[in-house]
């Protein structure tokens, strides 16, 4: 049996680890709340935008614009979204797996480039030939330091320009989509070219006056909806990150608790054994004196 001092030291170290993990869990829970609020805030905007686009597509063919052009896939841009920090379970690894699968398998022959949002994926691709960066994006690459629509719009715009300039023929976003605090799902969404949406409300709203004209509005709206799509990915990833960290830290705290209980048990056993030994020695000594 290990000696008392050793066990005591381990108990102290496990306890302090537990304090850290439970504090991190609390912090993540608070941040998760805020991240979820951000998603809820964006929902009405995204829904309304889709609705207006839906109304327009009832009377206008949306597929005739620069962002819908389907070309042979020779150059692919993959936008990978991870977190800046670790200690969140498989959160980042799932993205790494998906991105490397896209780079090394699916788009192997399509000169895949990876635009890295979040430090973790940047660390992985920074030194490879696949790393992609340009001046516009460089200014806002550390997106999670200030996660705003404006900053994410810069990235979306740069990707759109590169697509229109035929630098890339396809743009894919890989991110963790938020399901609930405990679960997230890795999604690879095609941002460009736009996949034409099937119009559901057939009657549309033909009564609208369109100012200045339908096609101008469409040209104005499509970049917007792309920006919203990327922003949604970022917000989802952000919320997923905190959810994943919360779950990971919760498990860590539970494990530490178990460990501590076992250690306390063996500590008490060792202590009891030491006391018993001492009594035996005293009794033995007394016997010998009386003898």
């Amino acid at each position: 049996m290990a000696n008392l001092k050793e066990i005591r030291n381990r108990i102290t170290s496990v306890s302090s680890t537990m304090q850290i993990t439970s504090a991190m869990k609390m912090v993540s829970a608070a941040k998760l709340k805020r991240a979820q609020d951000a998603i809820t805030q964006m929902k009405p905007y995204a829904e309304k935008l889709q609705e207006i686009l839906g109304n327009l597509s009832a009377t206008l063919d949306l597929s005739e614009n620069a962002y819908s052009e389907v070309r042979e896939t020779k150059n692919v841009l993959i936008i990978g979204i991870t977190s800046n920090r670790g200690l969140c379970g498989g959160f980042n690894n799932n993205i790494f797996k998906k991105v490397s699968n896209l780079v090394n398998e699916e788009y192997k022959d399509a000169n895949p480039k990876v635009l890295c949002l979040g430090k973790k994926i940047k660390d992985l691709y920074k030194k490879t030939d696949n790393y992609y960066i340009n001046d516009e994006v460089a200014a806002v690459e550390d997106i999670f330091a200030d996660l705003s629509f404006e900053n994410s719009a810069v990235i979306a715009e740069s990707a759109m320009n590169a697509f229109v300039a035929k630098e890339f023929d396809k743009v894919v976003v890989v991110y963790n989509s938020f399901i609930n605090a405990a679960s997230q799902e890795v999604k690879a969404e095609q941002l460009l070219p736009i996949i034409p949406t099937v119009n559901e409300n057939e009657q549309g709203a033909g009564d609208y006056i369109f100012e200045p004209g339908k096609s101008e509005i469409v040209e104005d709206l499509i970049p917007k909806s792309l920006k919203v799509q990327l922003f949604k990915g970022l917000l989802d990833s952000n919320a997923s990150e905190h959810g994943a960290r919360m779950t990971a830290m919760h498990k860590a705290t539970d494990n530490a608790d178990d460990l501590k209980r076992n250690l306390t048990l063996s500590y008490n056993k060792a202590r009891q054994a030491a006391i018993t030994n001492e009594i035996l020695e005293i009794v033995g000594g007394a016997e010998a004196l009386n003898g």
């Binding site: 309304k48 935008l49 207006i52 006056i209 100012e211 509005i217 709206l221």
Partner: protein, 96 residues
Amino acid sequence: MQLEIITPEMNVFSGEAEAVQFPGLDGSFQVLTNHSAIISALSKGEVKVNLTKAFEGTDGASELIQLDKSDNKVIRIDIKGGVMEMLNNKVIVLAE
């Protein structure tokens, strides 16, 4: 009419308005109550709202709302572009 101004990040304003002036792509225009259904793209500029009653302030995003100095029923909101839709006396502005 009911007016709502939303951005991807927050709800900037919602309330009753008498008239709203927008920076349209082809120049400024104003819609009054009972205007027919319209969808319009907006450019960078200022949305001027004539409220039905004095502005009381909203919680949250009020730093985007500027009060008119001479008239407490008029507020102005700067936008970088967007789109507005009006249907059945309900105006929704998707601003940036």
